[in-house]
């Protein structure tokens, strides 16, 4: 029985990690569908992203003659690092062992690791598009990463912990309290999420041949299973940011025990939260136009400023009282 008790959380963590894999294409499909509806189109089926991935996995991978071994290794590294980063974010239940293994700083580090290899892969073939995408992606993330860290540090300081599970627990224990610092942090994290997942107005995920593309420019040379891994990793990253925002700022409903009913509620609630966030994202993507690249730093500076204001507001106003 003890044996089972130590392994049950790990088992749950594994299930949750697999759930990220399974859920990621669904969210992408839902997002596309809502966007299509908002633009008066019927849009593809919800299951289309699954079919796309299946199709790509079945295809032969074509690799440029000028590619180095790094080009073929990169999709696996990007995918695994993104997946592990996602696995540390509580999805349906808190207090999982994966949150102990890697805290929020490690999560940012794993995402940075994935991005590092993504950018290197973009530069490997030696095409102009690849270098351009890599340069832009790295700049956007260089400005977004501090904003993200500052936003989560606000919560970490409140919870006195950088552990995501402890942060969520502290939030649940505090109840529904309106903290100004959290509002700032939430605003910052939303902006960062938009920039990091390559959504409008920073990047356009629907483009394949445009001088302003960022993420697509880096993966232009990929095909077959390599492309599938890259696409899937991008979808996981979207779910990751969604779960982070949903569960850290609005954790209510998440399972705090391993009872089946709690887990079922947790699963249902997070699904609803993610779908609602996707609707909000679809609306903002329909309303906004893509920015010129050199306007994006202004947006990210705003995010950093918001995050810093949140953190300063917290340490000055909320700690003392």
């Amino acid at each position: 029985m003890d044996y089972l008790l130590t392994f049950l959380p790990w088992l749950l963590a594994a299930v949750q990690a697999l759930l990220y894999l399974a859920l990621a294409p669904l969210l992408a499909g839902w997002l596309r569908r809502i966007k299509a509806r908002l633009q008066n189109r019927r849009g593809p089926s919800l299951w289309q992203p699954y079919r796309d991935l299946y199709k790509l996995f079945g295809k032969e991978a074509r690799v440029a003659t000028t590619a180095s071994p790094l080009f073929r290794a990169a999709p696996y590294i990007v995918f695994v690092a993104t997946w592990l980063a996602a696995a540390t974010v509580p999805l349906i239940a808190v207090d999982l062992p994966t949150a102990m293994v890697a805290d929020i700083i490690v999560l940012a580090g794993l995402l940075a690791l994935a991005r590092f290899f993504l950018a290197l892969a973009g530069m490997d073939i030696g095409t102009a598009f690849g270098g351009m995408g890599a340069s832009r992606e790295m700049l956007v993330s260089a400005l977004a990463e501090p904003a993200m860290l500052m936003a989560v540090f606000t919560l970490a300081m409140t919870a006195h912990s950088t552990n995501l599970a402890s942060m969520i627990d502290a939030q649940l224990a505090a109840g529904l309290v309106l903290r100004p610092s959290f509002l700032f942090a939430l605003g910052a994290l939303v902006l960062v999420a938009i920039a990091e997942t390559g959504r409008i107005p920073v990047d356009n995920p629907a483009t394949h041949l445009e001088l302003t593309m960022i993420h697509e420019a880096m993966i232009l040379e990929y095909s077959g299973r390599h492309l599938a891994l890259m696409e899937w990793a991008a979808q996981i990253k979207l779910v990751l940011y969604g779960a982070l925002i949903a569960n850290v700022f609005f954790p209510w409903g998440i399972a705090q025990s391993t009872a089946p009913t709690a887990l079922a509620t947790g699963a249902l609630v997070i699904l609803l939260k993610l779908l609602a966030l996707a609707v909000a994202l679809a609306i903002s993507e329909t309303v906004l136009a893509k920015m010129r690249f050199f306007r994006a730093p202004a947006l990210l500076n705003l995010a950093l400023l918001l995050a810093l204001l949140g953190l300063l507001g917290h340490v000055i106003l909320e700690v003392g009282s």
């Binding site: 180095s68 890697a102 805290d103 700083i105 890599a134 990463e145 950088t162 340490v315």
Partner: protein, 668 residues
């Protein structure tokens, strides 16, 4: 502990022996490669052993040498702090000793100054070892000057270029101003302590005002050697022009000796720590970290870029030290110990990855004869081993898990996140701003090293001689591999390292990190497990498990073949190597976003044939804001004084007499 001291003395002896043997290299050139450099590597190994034993043992050992002045014999003192820095010197020294023979072989025929290279390299190493081992200020300063002067000759090694001579002179000048400042700082301590021995200084009771004066002098002196902004301008001039293994020693190790001096002086000798010092160190550290990485991004000379990146990393180390001073000054000893350990960890990490990267740059220079990133490209396929090891260095320096740079950055973040424990609202607000700077620095460092690796090792060769690059000899690869293995081990097993390091704050601050390693070797929990934990071995294990799972899933029933073809590139023409992004283009967005911080000269000119030429030069603002005004001031002052120089001996004698009288009058 006495064993450790004897190993350390052995290391000094071997370094001096290597220097002595090199003197005969003019007659027998192969002596340097076959005897002197292996002995040098052995000296590094002995220093490493001494350092690890000293850390493991945790005691102190002292010894009086029969050298020095009659009333002031030189004392050696080895404790955990000194042992740690001995280990840093040792491991990079050993790697440089393994790397160097292949380099020397390349210049053996052509160069006539082999004795100079070998001799001063040995003296340089023994100088650094003696600085760390010194138990009194006198030996410290002698060893410090030995280190500075011998490295001056190494910077000036390729003295046939005027730019190198200028860089060496600048280095000498700055080293002496810094040395003077340190000397004055020790003077303050010695006058209160009544002696030059560190034990006397430690026992002294300083008034707060004089303690701050001593701190300021030490900060300027050691900060100048460590290349902190705005005193850094000599560093990117001097470090790149030395031979690459010397650059590795200078950037990887000599800067750490300055960090050692600062810690010894401020944390150990000065006594009562004031939190205001922490604020000053934090401000300068953050400025150095940010400006260092931004200027590194603007470089396209690989070694110069690495030198600027050293400014950044020393900034990160001083952020850790500043946090530690701040916490200690406000009475939070546990947090002070944590921040100090973070700074020490980063010192070790920086020594390893910067040594590795400089050796990598040396390998490129050796086989492709190229330092300029704009001419490189595709080197990963030409030199796969160097490419792989250099990638490990880039991942480490970009602070990516599970490599070592990440661990020290994680520890620094953990220390800064404890700011809520401080009482003062202003200080609580200051630390998050520093943390934001650190986060920005880390992200920009990743950008910088994507640029380095992507431009140099990926893509296609941009010039013919780079296309013909050959793998370097195995000894060069071995030198890099030693450091790369260190980077990986320090990244994957941080708990063991932190357990060793926590002896240092226990010894000099009286407070260790009891919680950090209390939960087994898997878990690193600096304050408490609830506050934050990181398990690098499990991260690696999970990454591996997920990779295996993924590979297993996709290798079933899927087409496994890979077909080679032309690049797609959106259907444009087959890309040529000239169509690739360049290093300058890669950094252009940064130049634009952070434009105010640089002095940029950019112009488009048309020559008489109607050909457009784009010129771009990014200058360091420290020159125009600090160095040139001071130089002009000195120049103007000297012009006044020069009037005394009449050429008449009698007038000179008169001046001497007058000076003597004035001095006598002051003393009496």
């Amino acid at each position: 502990m006495d064993q450790a001291l004897s190993f350390a003395l052995l290391a000094v002896g071997l370094a001096l022996a290597s220097s002595l043997v090199s003197c005969f290299a003019a007659r027998f050139p192969c002596l340097l490669r076959l005897v002197a450099l292996p002995v040098f590597a052995l000296a590094g190994l002995a220093a490493l052993v001494a350092g690890v034993v000293a850390l493991w043992d945790g005691g102190t050992a002292t010894m009086t040498l029969p050298l020095g002045l009659p009333w002031l014999p030189w004392q050696l003192h080895l404790d955990a702090l000194a042992g740690f820095f001995l280990a840093i010197i040792g491991i990079v020294g050993a790697a440089a000793g393994i790397f160097a023979p292949a380099y020397v072989r390349g210049i053996e025929r052509s160069s006539e100054s082999l004795p100079m290279l070998g001799g001063f390299t040995g003296l340089f190493l023994s100088g650094m070892l003696l600085v760390v081992l010194a138990g009194d200020a006198f030996l410290f300063m002698v060893a410090w000057e030995l280190m500075s002067l011998s490295s001056y000759f190494l910077v000036a090694f390729h003295h046939e270029h005027a730019a190198n001579r200028r860089a060496a002179f600048l280095y000498l000048l700055m080293a002496h101003i810094g040395g003077l400042s340190i000397l004055l700082g020790y003077g303050v301590l010695a006058s209160f302590g009544g002696g030059f021995a560190f034990t006397a200084m430690r026992a002294a009771e300083l008034t707060p005002g004089w303690a701050s004066v001593a701190f300021a002098l030490a900060f300027v002196g050691f900060g100048m050697k460590a290349g902190l902004v705005p005193l850094h301008a000599w560093l990117p001039e001097a470090h790149p022009v030395a031979p690459s293994h010397i650059s590795a020693l200078m950037s990887g190790v000599m800067l750490k000796v300055a960090v050692y001096g600062f810690i010894r002086f401020v944390f150990d000798l000065t006594g009562e720590i004031q939190w205001q010092w922490g604020v000053a160190v934090l401000a300068i550290g953050s400025l150095s970290a940010l400006m260092g990485v931004l200027y590194a991004l603007m470089q396209h000379d690989l070694k110069r870029l690495l030198a600027y990146s050293s400014v950044e990393n020393l900034g990160i180390i001083f952020i850790g030290l500043g946090l530690s001073l701040l916490y200690l000054g406000t009475g939070h000893r546990l947090l002070g110990a944590l921040a100090l350990v973070a700074a020490l960890y980063h010192s070790l990490n920086h020594a390893l990855f910067k040594g590795l990267l400089f050796l990598g740059a040396g390998a490129i220079l050796h086989s492709a004869h190229e330092r300029d990133l704009e001419h490189m490209g595709g080197l990963l396929r030409r030199m796969p081993w160097t490419g792989l090891l250099f990638l490990i260095g880039c991942l480490s320096i970009a602070a990516l898990p599970p490599f070592n740079g990440f661990v020290s950055e994680w520890l620094t973040f953990q220390a800064s996140l404890q700011a809520w424990q401080l009482d003062s609202g202003v200080l609580r607000a200051l630390i998050p701003i520093v943390a934001a700077t650190l986060a920005l620095t880390g992200a920009l460092a990743a950008l910088c090293f994507v640029k380095v690796y992507g431009i140099a090792f990926l893509g296609q060769a941009r010039t013919r001689h780079v296309r013909r690059a050959r793998p370097v000899p195995s000894s060069m690869r071995a030198g890099q591999a030693v450091l790369a293995v260190g980077c990986v081990l320090l990244g994957v097993l941080p708990t063991a390292v932190v357990a060793l390091l926590s002896v240092i704050p226990e010894q000099i601050l009286g407070h260790g990190l009891p919680q950090a390693t209390a939960h087994g070797w898997l878990w690193l929990t600096p304050v408490a497990p609830e506050t934050g934990s990181y398990s690098a071995p499990l991260v690696v294990a999970l990454l591996a498990a997920m990779a295996v799972a993924a590979a297993w899933l996709w290798r079933r029933g899927v087409v496994r073949r890979v077909r080679r073809g032309d690049p797609w590139d959106c259907g444009f023409a087959m890309p040529s190597s000239r169509m690739q992004y360049t290093a300058t283009a890669f950094a252009q967005p940064v130049r634009r976003v952070f434009g105010l911080l640089f002095r940029i000269d950019e112009s488009v000119e048309t020559d008489n044939k109607g050909v457009l030429r784009h010129r771009l030069a990014v200058h360091d603002r420290a020159w125009t804001l600090l160095y040139l005004p001071i130089a002009r001031l000195v120049d103007a002052g000297v012009r006044r004084i020069v009037r005394l120089q009449s050429g008449n001996v009698r007038i000179y004698l008169g001046w001497t007499l007058a000076t003597l009288l004035v001095l006598l009058w002051i003393i009496s």
